[in-house]
Amino acid sequence: MNRACSSPSGAHRLATPLGPVGFGLGAILVVVLALPLGALLLSASVDDLKAGASSPLFAPALWLSLRTSALSLVLTVLGGTPLAWWLATSTSRTARGVELVVDLPIVIPPAVIGVALLQTFGRRGLLGPALGGVGVSLPFTEGAVLLAQIVVSAPFFVQAAANAFRKVEIDLMIVARTLGASPGAAFFRVAVPVALPGLVVGASLAWARALGEFGATLLFAGNMPGRTQTMPLAIVTALESDVRVAVVFSLVLAALGGVLLLGLRLLPAAWAAFGGARAARDAGAGGLR
């Protein structure tokens, strides 16, 4: 065996096609991404944490953020799931047009969306007078917080869900139907479970985006403590008086995001383990005969 032809066993030959320069650039990016978070983590002491948590801004903002982002996620999934299925299965031009419209908020700056929401629901907006006629005023309310979150976050869910549904083979649905499943049953018993990993990723991205929503909320809902001040807005307000409190708020939001990411990474394995446990249980039941 020629030594020059041997390679370390198990090493992927295509792992570093760009050589040390590519590796170095990648490493720098990792540092740029990780360093600020590390600094944030190091800058807070236990006393700071106590001070931050006892800030009058903290509890209302956190509760408002969790409440509105959870509700916006529920509404997004409720409307986004059937929409995504239609986008994934329809070949019509209308579907492609709708898909473009749904994707738009991803590329439009949140501040622009805030202005657009004001132009729609504001007192002099498109629907403002009509809504005012029935006594509804949306801007600068919790409803406005919710709406801003849905507009900026729903596209992430719809896009991920549509991509997940596209990977569900049409034959699986046809088989399910021939096996006695109604269209709805085939959807819930086959399409949703098969697409579930993608749906969960989409929902997590949407939730994270809603939780971090800032620009559209500030313009459309304002920054009123206890009413429309979500965590990201509370950070700005806290920063004006006490940096330490802002740091604590930031840490809490970062921790929520971190937990979410970890859950996303662990979920597929947990899902497989759950499925395995179920199979084992069925095996046990079968063994009793």
Binding site: R177, L179, G180, P193, V194, A279
Partner: protein
Amino acid sequence: MSWRARVRARVGDLTIDVDLSGGLAPLALIGANGSGKTTLLRVIAGAHAPLAGEIAVGGTILYSDEQAIDCPSEARRVGYVPQGYGLFPHLSVLDNVAFGLPAGFTRVSRAARRERARAMLDGLECAHLANRRPDRLSGGERQRVALARALVIEPGILLLDEPLAALDAAGRRSVRDFLATRLRAARVPSLVVTHDARDVVALEAEVCVLDHGRIVQRGDVSALRAAPASAFVEEFVG
């Protein structure tokens, strides 16, 4: 046990216009890519709506434009095994087979449902696979599970789309013989898409040649060999 599909259908750019019928003996459907083999199976399964015609299986009319009958897929009792077998990846083999059985709402009915699925797997010599996931099965095992899943609903007809295409040459012969034996034993009419004359011989099937959505020739292999209707048929039996 007989069936007939006299249908005209349009799916995408393809127009299908056929009048096919058969009994218990398998009917093999051959034809070039895009000739409409899979589409025809899907029309019979109820996945595509025909424009006109009549589909009847075992005396039950599943579709008839004249009588305004269009039975939905779930009520047709058609066993459809798509190319690649279409096993549900999120379900165990047992749950795949039990999918078509009525859901059990009590502990007893759930156990009975599992028992029936298990017996069907047992009959196809794959009871030991019950708790595996489809991605842990070989091609031959997948085919057996898909066959079990289609047969458990006691279908009036079996539609098999290239049931042997996903297998490597080595395993193919034994799986082919197994399939032929099982189809005879199941006493269910079948319509089998294939591109291999050896499948036709093993299944003792009559052959139907589809070209651009139309039937251009029908007969057993020797008849096709004696007077091939096209270069495609000549190559198929050659």
